[in-house]
């Protein structure tokens, strides 16, 4: 059976070049980089180089890149770390209703610890209202955390403008750029953000490695205390192979970013156009223009997302509904609710996220299979019965 993977926004396979780069660091160059002897010096050098590479890809300095164990850890660290460091200055944080759970659940935790959090509403495409943002900033606001692009609906948010507003009031800005990295060129200087989260496994690097960019001089406490690793800010023996893999993946991603984005956009637009043409009763979620190059998110009315996913899986297509990370839950995605969908419609969402290994044939295969699957499920649906009955 043909197998088509269209869930790159959830995770990506490690590229061969990346794995190849990692291999020597498991058993050969394995020394603890904090040590004195020469084994360790090789590890240390490799990590220094990796830090340099990752820094360069986002126009940061090496000393501003701190490796973590995941994108989630980077998000948790940014928010809790600033909250803890600045709690005497204020206890108010601003974020949006469409953030990743790594941001939202961290904010909810802080609320339980006595912080106040404003969750900004978004419009039907997922944009926050900048006036709303400005009005939400208070004397005691210490951090604004708004994602660079949403993982479910693909909408790209105007971080630079957000930073401008925040800077007028001297408030720190964190952005979760996990989905943007490798798809749109990130320039931390141009953006002006103070903190920015990255994750390796979304850009064909290994899972279990992320990074937090911390602009020089930003006050932040640690999340993981212990040894003096990561310039004394993040303890734990360095995941050398993982870090090397992250750097290689980052290098490849930025090298080919134009080509990659152009290809993905082409496939994305074909998918959206053809689905729109051939399947009625649908809704495209997320901004049609300001959207991640590989993101397609569509609600198919009258049917339910998981049934759709299972059906696609039966013909070899891997996709997701809502967000992969929350699929333990039965509630429809908080993002789809935030953009104003009814439960009924939100339940029928499908995210197809395109990546480097997809071909035009993959897209054609989806376009061949999807209409009949949707039709089959609709034919089973009492909601659809009402609609066609009404004709």
């Amino acid at each position: 059976m043909k197998r088509v993977y269209l869930d790159y926004a959830a995770t990506s396979p490690v590229k061969d070049e990346v794995l190849k780069e990692m291999l020597p660091y498991f058993s050969d160059v394995f020394g603890n980089p904090s040590s004195v002897y020469s084994y360790a010096r090789e590890s240390k050098k490799a990590i220094d180089k990796a830090r340099d590479i990752v820094a360069t890809t986002i126009n940061a300095k090496a000393k501003e890149i701190y490796f973590t164990g995941s994108g989630s850890e980077a998000d948790n660290w940014a928010i809790k770390g600033v909250a803890s460091a600045l709690k005497n200055k204020g206890k108010h944080i601003i974020t949006s209703k469409i953030e990743h759970h790594a941001v939202l659940h961290t904010c909810e935790y802080l609320e339980r610890e006595g912080f106040e959090v404003t969750y900004l509403d978004v419009d039907e495409n997922g944009f926050i209202d900048l006036v709303d943002l400005e009005n939400s900033i208070r004397e005691d606001t210490i951090l604004i955390s708004i994602m660079y692009a949403n993982n479910e609906i693909g909408t790209i948010l105007p971080i630079k403008q957000i930073v401008e507003i925040a800077k007028r009031k001297s408030v720190l800005v964190h952005t979760d750029a996990v989905q943007v990295y490798g798809n749109i060129l990130i320039d931390v200087i141009d953006l002006g953000v103070d903190l920015l989260s990255l994750s390796a496994h979304k850009i064909y690097g290994p899972k279990g490695v992320g990074a937090l960019y911390i602009k020089r001089g930003t006050k932040i406490n640690s999340l993981i205390y212990g040894g003096a690793q990561e310039m004394k800010k993040r303890a734990g023996t360095e995941n050398i192979a993982g870090i090397i893999g992250f750097a290689k993946a980052a290098e490849l991603a930025i090298e080919n970013i134009e080509e990659h984005a152009t290809k993905l956009k082409k496939l994305r637009d074909k998918l959206i156009e053809e689905i729109t043409k051939t399947i009625p009763h649908i809704r495209l979620n997320g901004d049609p223009i300001k959207r991640l190059p590989g993101n397609v998110n569509i609600c198919f009315k009258y049917i339910e997302g998981e049934a759709l996913l299972l059906s696609l899986d039966l013909v070899g297509i891997a996709a997701s509904s809502g967000s992969a990370c929350t699929s333990g839950s039965l509630d429809p995605s908080h993002v789809l609710m935030a953009i104003g969908l009814t439960h009924e419609i939100a339940h029928g969402s499908l995210r197809l996220s395109i990546g480097d290994f997809n071909s035009e044939e993959d897209i054609d295969y989806v376009l061949e299979k999807l209409p009949e699957i949707v039709q089959r499920l609709r034919d089973m649906s009492p909601l659809y019965e009402e609609v066609i009955g009404g004709n």
Binding site: E304, A307, L310, S311, L314, L330, H343, M380, L383, E385
Partner: protein, 140 residues
């Protein structure tokens, strides 16, 4: 995550459709919860001679509907009352814990259809004592 039995009933559901001149129709669940089951029955001499369903919902909602119809088809109303959600889940070789509510829904859909039949024909079943489809709620 699902048993082969579930996948079988999901991919080849039995008794899908509607019965135009059904003697009994029962619909439970709502779109907010993500599951709606609608059951149609032909009933002759207290025997469910035909049953069909339509379901909006996840894989296990569809599979439980399918197997439930299979389990009651040709059975008497009395026997249909004995269809518990456990029995439905067991017949499918189990359901993931978060999906157990689907089997509850199937049980309720059957009951609701018979309730509808009872109402229309002014019949009394002790098994329906205290049962009111309007009281059913989305429990998750």
């Amino acid at each position: 995550m699902y048993s082969e039995k579930v996948m079988d009933h999901f991919s080849k559901p039995r008794n899908v459709g509607e019965i135009k001149d059904a003697d009994a129709v029962g619909q439970v669940g709502n779109a907010k919860c993500g599951d709606i089951m609608k059951m149609y029955m032909k009933i002759e001499n207290d025997i469910i001679v035909d049953v069909k369903f339509k379901t909006f919902g996840c894989g296990s909602a569809i599979a439980t509907s399918s197997i439930a119809t299979e389990m009651i088809k040709g059975k008497t109303i009395k026997e249909a009352f004995r269809l518990t959600n456990r029995a439905v889940a067991d017949a499918l070789d189990g359901l993931p814990p978060v999906k157990m509510h689907c089997s509850v829904l199937a049980e309720q859909a059957v009951k609701t259809a018979i309730y509808n039949y009872a109402q229309k024909n002014d019949l009394y079943f002790e098994e329906l004592e205290g049962f009111d489809p309007d009281d059913l709620e989305c429990h998750h």
